[in-house]
Symmetry: C2
Subunit: 563 residues, 2 copies
């Protein structure tokens, strides 16, 4: 019998011990009841003005300075390592720390620059955080499983332990990025909160009564505290978008096959109906574009068999800006979907959508209502793909150590069930394709409604029914999973913050069903006060350039060029 608690404690302590002594907090921070928000001024008190200047610059601003030699990569790396160390001590957001390697890598970049008088690549000196699915030499990948400690994806003596690197890691290094930490995830990856038996719970730094989101929840908390300018997460049901939204910054779920997932750890690997995708989260739209465009310049389709050969298309981005700038002010057209017909978002989310609609209209663009094919079909189909193997993969992972499954995971995986057969999986694949086709033709049909002669550019929709989940109260994922079923590109747009004096409970509202009732009853203005509120901008498949352009236009209009 393995003592999983001892193993977990040892792992947690060994990671924490990598925080240099001068960066350790002398005393624990006040409890959430006293200090709900640890962002902004709270975390700044532990940093020098220069560190604050560096860490509150977005990725675009950082590379402007590092690729021109104005800022040293080493100083930038040290500032982010320090701030990440503080963030971790406040909200438990890191699984692996490799600050020494980062500072050493940054020094090499500075040496290169000194010798060659030019940067090594477009991301020269840019710190990039990675979700704990990426393999990085020198450190482990536990993905929150105690049973993965000391292994390679749960297997011992593979020869890959602490040596093998994921394809994107290789590419980021070639581009000049500095890697320094891996961020926390919920074990199994299948939750919108981040909790596991190694680091416990990753809290939302803006409001520590709430979740940081999941499954890229460590990225959410870390970037939310500006302990990273840009990082990479993954998304099979909302796992990039949810933490970006809960923490009030930008993120994009690209379509599958746009960016390289090759060589990453995963849950239910080989499930082929809805693929998990990798994508960036960051404090500005520009930062997302910067890293995507840089990665595509590496021709990842020559190193990842699942990546489609679609280079960055400046012209698709430009087409949007051209419409906006055309003489007389050209019109874009958006659709708005407040509810998916199953669950009504909580008041702050509804208000955020209203705000975005007003901004769109103020900018002179069109907004139509979105009345798509039934979303409950999408939600049901997406859920089926999560449980094809009846939980075999995750149960095997828990069994490695005997550790318990967290409550957040139990609804889907608590009981191991029969596996789907080939014919049952094929039936889901057909229904999925039919749904995609129907949805696509609905989207095409909006050209008759927009007045622009084109279908809508994107859909404005909630990504979750709440600003952020309360612990163990993330009961409905349908607002994010439909995007995965359709394989659409979707970015997060941070909009506002909860104001308990405005975002009051609608006592007249009659919930439509059990899901809706749970979401409705979990809203409490007192608890939510101050939390970030974000929505998603959903584009068609492989429309990353367009979605980012639209999101930037809206973010700028909302005064959030840098979140």
């Amino acid at each position: 019998m393995i003592d999983w608690k001892a193993l977990a404690t040892e792992k947690r302590n060994s990671v924490n011990s990598l925080i240099p002594k001068p960066w350790r907090l002398e005393s624990p921070i006040p409890p959430a009841s006293e200090q709900r928000d640890v962002t902004g001024k709270f975390i700044q008190q532990f940093l020098s003005p220069r560190e604050i200047e560096i860490t509150e610059t977005d990725a675009v601003g950082i590379v402007k300075n590092t690729t021109s030699g104005s800022w040293k990569a080493r100083e930038v790396a040290e500032a982010f390592c320090h701030r990440a160390a503080l963030a971790h001590q406040m909200v438990n957001c890191l699984h692996e720390i490799f600050f020494d390697a980062a500072i050493s890598d940054a020094q090499k970049l500075d040496d290169y620059y000194a010798e060659h008088k030019k940067p090594i690549g477009p991301l020269h000196g840019l710190p990039v955080s990675l979700k704990d699915q990426f393999h990085v030499k020198g450190v482990e990948t536990t993905m929150g499983y105690v049973g993965w400690i000391g292994t390679f994806e749960g297997k011992k003596n593979t020869g890959k332990e602490k040596i093998f690197e994921s394809e994107m890691v290789t590419e980021l290094r070639a581009l000049g990025a500095v890697l320094y930490c891996k961020t926390s995830v919920p074990h199994t990856l299948m939750a919108g909160e981040t909790v596991n038996n190694i680091i416990d719970y990753t809290w939302n730094p803006k409001n520590r009564l709430l979740a940081s989101g999941g499954s890229s929840g460590g990225e959410g908390a870390l970037i939310g505290l500006k302990g990273s300018p840009v990082g990479f997460g993954t998304d099979i049901g909302g796992s990039i978008r949810i933490p970006a939204a809960f923490n009030g910054f930008y993120g994009i779920r690209p379509s599958s096959g746009r960016l390289p997932y090759e060589g990453m750890a995963n849950s239910m690997d080989g499930q082929n109906s809805i693929l998990s995708v990798v994508g960036p989260l960051g404090t500005s739209v520009g930062s997302l574009k910067l890293v995507i465009k840089s990665l595509l310049s590496q021709q990842p389709w020559l190193h990842d068999p699942l990546v489609s050969e679609i280079p960055w298309r400046d012209e698709q981005e430009q087409a949007i800006f051209d419409i906006v700038k055309s003489s007389g002010g050209g019109q874009l057209a958006f659709a708005v979907m407040k509810s998916d017909g199953i669950v009504q978002p909580q008041p702050p989310v509804l208000r955020a959508i209203e705000m975005v609609v007003k901004v769109i209209e103020k900018l002179g663009h069109k907004v139509i209502e979105w009345n798509p094919p039934s979303h409950s079909r999408a939600v049901d189909l997406a859920y089926k793909t999560w449980v094809y193997d009846g939980g075999a993969d995750v149960h095997d992972a828990f069994a490695l150590s005997g550790e318990p499954m967290s409550n957040q995971i139990k609804p889907a995986y608590g009981t191991r069930k029969a596996e789907y057969t080939a014919s049952q999986i094929a039936a889901v694949n057909i229904q999925k394709r039919e749904y995609q086709k129907e949805y696509m033709e609905y989207w095409n049909s909006t050209s008759a409604l927009t007045g622009t002669g084109r279908p809508v550019e994107a859909i404005i929709a909630p990504v979750a029914p709440f600003p952020a989940a309360r612990p163990e109260m993330y009961t409905y994922y349908g607002m994010s999973t439909w995007v995965n079923l359709l394989d659409y590109s979707a970015a997060i747009l941070p909009v506002t913050q909860v104001d308990k004096s405005i975002d009051v409970i609608d006592k007249e509202y009659k919930p439509m069903n059990e899901h809706d009732e749970k979401v409705y009853s979990s809203y409490d203005p007192e608890i939510y006060d101050g939390a970030h509120v974000s929505i998603q901008v959903v584009g068609r498949r492989f429309q990353e350039e367009k979605v980012l352009a639209l999101t930037e236009i809206l973010g700028d209009a909302l005064g959030k060029h840098i979140a």
Copy 2:
């Protein structure tokens, strides 16, 4: 108990009755023992000089005439309908005939041209034949199953019968193509020969002792007899390439997601590990390019959720021509793979590969040997995807009528087996991805061997171990299926014809294994004499433009600009 024989006879007769009386052969053609080859002069005897001129022009030449008003669409349609009718009477290559609709559609195109003085689209007046998986209004889709007669994909009263059209059919019509027949397939589609209980066997018109190939075998025979300038087949294990090769003309298997499969009938629909792809077969490389480029101009990604947004890329094609035309004569680099390590091709195929190597060298390009990761891994994995459902789908289809399964299908599907579970399918998907990654890196590594600084442009390889299969002797598919596993783009290059005086049996050869022994012993120079011999040109994923450019360069050098 359904009388499947009566149903099949009735269907066969009803289709044959659609051949206008003047086009019916007065007496049966001589048996294969007397008249092996029915192409060329043999079929020409039943046609007028003008009909011969039209039908022996390739698609590029046809649209040049029809889009400029030189040729009337109606005259072109009538000529091809006539020649297709003759072809069918010689080798059983059609499942559906709709000459009346075609001639009426062609007349409308002529009327349009007369009124607007311009063509309706780039395929204005081009006859296009379709494999019997396409749904076309007015006719059935049986896919060779007696149980599908009078149904929509085996289901009755769906409301779609004889009304619903596949996405590509809609697009072809919009481009101006004239649809006039659907071509024969082996029931289940899972064979390299074409046989079913409705039309019996589709023979190879160049050598009626041999198979026309499969599963797009009707396309192979029809285009081989020039009863169609260009047609569409599908390929999950070689089904476009095999009939193109066996009948000595061009064809391309695009990567999955390049062309729209939406709304087509299929076997084992929903199997998601290796997707069947749709692609063109035709008498010139230009004709394949013409139809692919035209279809992509329709933005099929807006109407098929599985199509990737990759427009036709002139620049990728041009990059190849630029290398060749650069001052001093730039070098291309090819790899050559004579055997896959499992089976040695028969003497005529080996000779064809040697001929291509000599042509490449004569053109001043480089040839290196291909020593890839084990092909037996690829062959085993591809086969597993064929039997995920244990044969459930095909057994259900046979059970609709009680008709027997042909011998060609029995090795894979004779006995119904247990279905794969979700975990077993996931394991195949992972092994497939790992194999793809390994193969891709091997390909990348050839940049060190070519002398051009680039990896090889393409691989020259056999597509089958024989020039064409002898009936019931297609025992090894591994030479085509590895391309499907890797999702590579691959075109057929017709090279030569069997010459019994040159292509003698190598009596010293010691077969490597049981597969190899069967292939070796099935070669008989007397039987094969005169048959077409073709090979495949294999490019990386989504390299259709490049593969076609390379195939055109080689085809031109072989004197086969039009096959």
